[in-house]
Symmetry: C2
Subunit: 342 residues, 2 copies
């Protein structure tokens, strides 16, 4: 038997509601709700009739309405820099797994390193009433999140701390990692070591530079201004920086790369040169083992997991004051960092 023709001038995407299911099954609205949510107190027979109506109508519960009523969305937001960067894939995936274990969905967005876009995204997520927010800051002022946090949006910062507000943060020990990596180069005989890092507005860049300086100072080595370059991780910029340090009047014999993007470009640039230059990079890279690149590895997945777990603990009411957690790094020697000075 053909179905009755639907009213045609209806909103696109018109879908059956619980009311429709109820009338089709000849039961009350609440009974449908019970069946859909697996609540007890429905006879097997009634349940079957309701299920049939659901199937026949192609009903699916509208979670927007549910959320509106319940107040919780069972979703968390993740604002990161760029999902296409191999550092964030595993991080995001780790957050997703924790969220999934708590029955929550993950909504993530890329800030593209633009503070305005970070803010816009984070606030859009708040408007969708995510239960919690994990933010990898692009900007350095997060006061815009204060009203949201006061209103109950749990917030955890990852990879970089929040700016100008008190909030949980899960970070990698950038300072210690860089210091150890540079000390490694020193231990292999280098005295003129260059540092190429990310924009100075980025917290990790500053911390790693600080680690570099500490290691140099520990070894009693001077640092020439020409050996330090902070800026965009754009390949052209990094390439120029490498060339300037390696071919300059005070040529470095070793380089410390401040993050994975810089390492990759540095490896490419150095691979074309006759005189070997030692290299240690912050953050591991796929296939670095085959290329023999020595790195100070950080665990992106652990970063995401730790942050997400803290977020859900907050959601469960953890009263504790905001804290900063630092995850350790691991130096992995593969050859490039053990090259002696030329």
């Amino acid at each position: 038997m053909a179905e009755t023709t639907r009213h045609p001038d209806h909103r696109y995407g018109n879908r059956p509601t619980m009311k429709d299911v109820a009338s089709r099954a000849g039961v009350g609205l609440k009974t449908v709700s019970r069946v859909v949510n697996g609540e007890p107190g429905v006879t097997a027979d009634t349940e079957r009739r309701v299920q049939e109506a659901i199937e026949a109508l192609g009903f699916r519960r509208n979670d927007s309405a549910r959320v509106l009523r319940k107040g919780r969305t069972a979703s968390v937001g993740l604002v990161l820099e760029d999902l296409a960067d191999p550092f964030y894939g595993p991080l995001s995936r780790a957050v997703e797994e924790v969220a999934r274990a708590h029955g929550a969905l993950l909504i993530n967005g890329s800030s593209a390193e633009d503070p305005d876009r970070e803010r816009e995204l984070a606030l859009a997520l708040c408007a969708r009433r995510v239960d919690g927010l994990i933010v990898i800051p692009a900007g350095d002022d997060h006061r815009y999140l204060e009203p949201e946090m006061r209103a109950g949006v749990a917030t955890v910062f990852v990879d970089r701390p929040a700016g100008r507000i008190e909030a949980d943060a899960v970070l990698t020990d950038s300072f210690g990692g860089a210091r150890g990596g540079v000390a490694h180069l020193v231990a292999h005989g280098h005295r003129r070591i260059g540092f190429i890092g990310d924009q100075p507005r980025i917290h990790t860049a500053v911390e790693r530079l600080r680690g570099y300086r500490a290691a140099m100072e520990d070894a009693g080595l001077p640092v020439d201004d020409a050996w330090v370059s902070l800026g965009s991780t754009d390949p052209g910029r990094v390439r120029d920086a490498v060339a300037a340090m390696v071919d300059g009047p005070q040529p470095v014999t070793a380089l410390f790369a401040g993050n994975n993007r810089v390492t990759v470009t540095a490896v490419r640039e150095l691979s074309g040169r006759a005189r070997p230059v030692a290299l240690v990079g912050f953050d591991d890279i796929e296939l670095a083992d085959l290329l023999g690149i020595t790195v100070v590895a950080q665990d992106a997945a652990a970063l995401g997991r730790t942050a997400a777990e803290r977020l859900f603990r907050r959601l469960e009411g953890l009263p504790e004051a905001p804290a900063r957690v630092e995850l350790p790094t691991t130096l992995i020697a593969r050859g490039s960092g053990e090259v002696p000075p030329a």
Copy 2:
């Protein structure tokens, strides 16, 4: 003047509503709505009063309620395999950019290659009433999406086609790419060429194998059963497959790797061997240039962009029948594929 104490036993995350703003500003609810949405017909003075109340209260519109009323969520869902896989990062980011250009948010989730989880995720996204859905299939039966699609959820499949339903699909030309890659090995003198690919339930694995067979047949070369291995991309499994083919009784002189995971493991496994084995991999990898790995490259970002653009065209009412789009591959010769037979 101190604010009146809030009723304490209220739901956590209690937030001011438009009603609160309205009463604080001494205006009607609808006027607040007008201001929040930038609708015309509000005097500058009224608007200012409303804005002040919004600031003071830390009001942010609840999009759940808005969605319930409007019927559209301005969000699209993306179900992929694993965000931690470097192939999906750029794809997801490309989808995000297109969504953003259309004012939509992206909600993505990983199926972990589990068909049940794919289904669960896709349906959860439908329950949240995403306007559209982009799916990278893990399973091969998508009839579960039929009611959703009928109800108006625009759906586009990427990387692999939908199973048992008619739907838009944006794919890479796996057959042609693999055929070309294997032909490249043949052109360099190889006659015994192995193929290691993903699970046979995955469409691209089958297509690439088909391309391999076609190229062998084109060259009039036989294919020994021992030269073909489909299965999990788990490093152990791939390692064993490589060893079996290279050390077997009919040793291959060249390998075609069916995807990026396989390529990486194959490179690692082959790097330890005395006798050189030629290698061409499907899908490019970061740093493959430095390692001299010849690949058949596909453009993950283009895949995502094309799919997302099609999705939004559907959302705008494109009436056309479901179509399959195939994107071309590019052979990039870097050395490993040009090694002559040992």
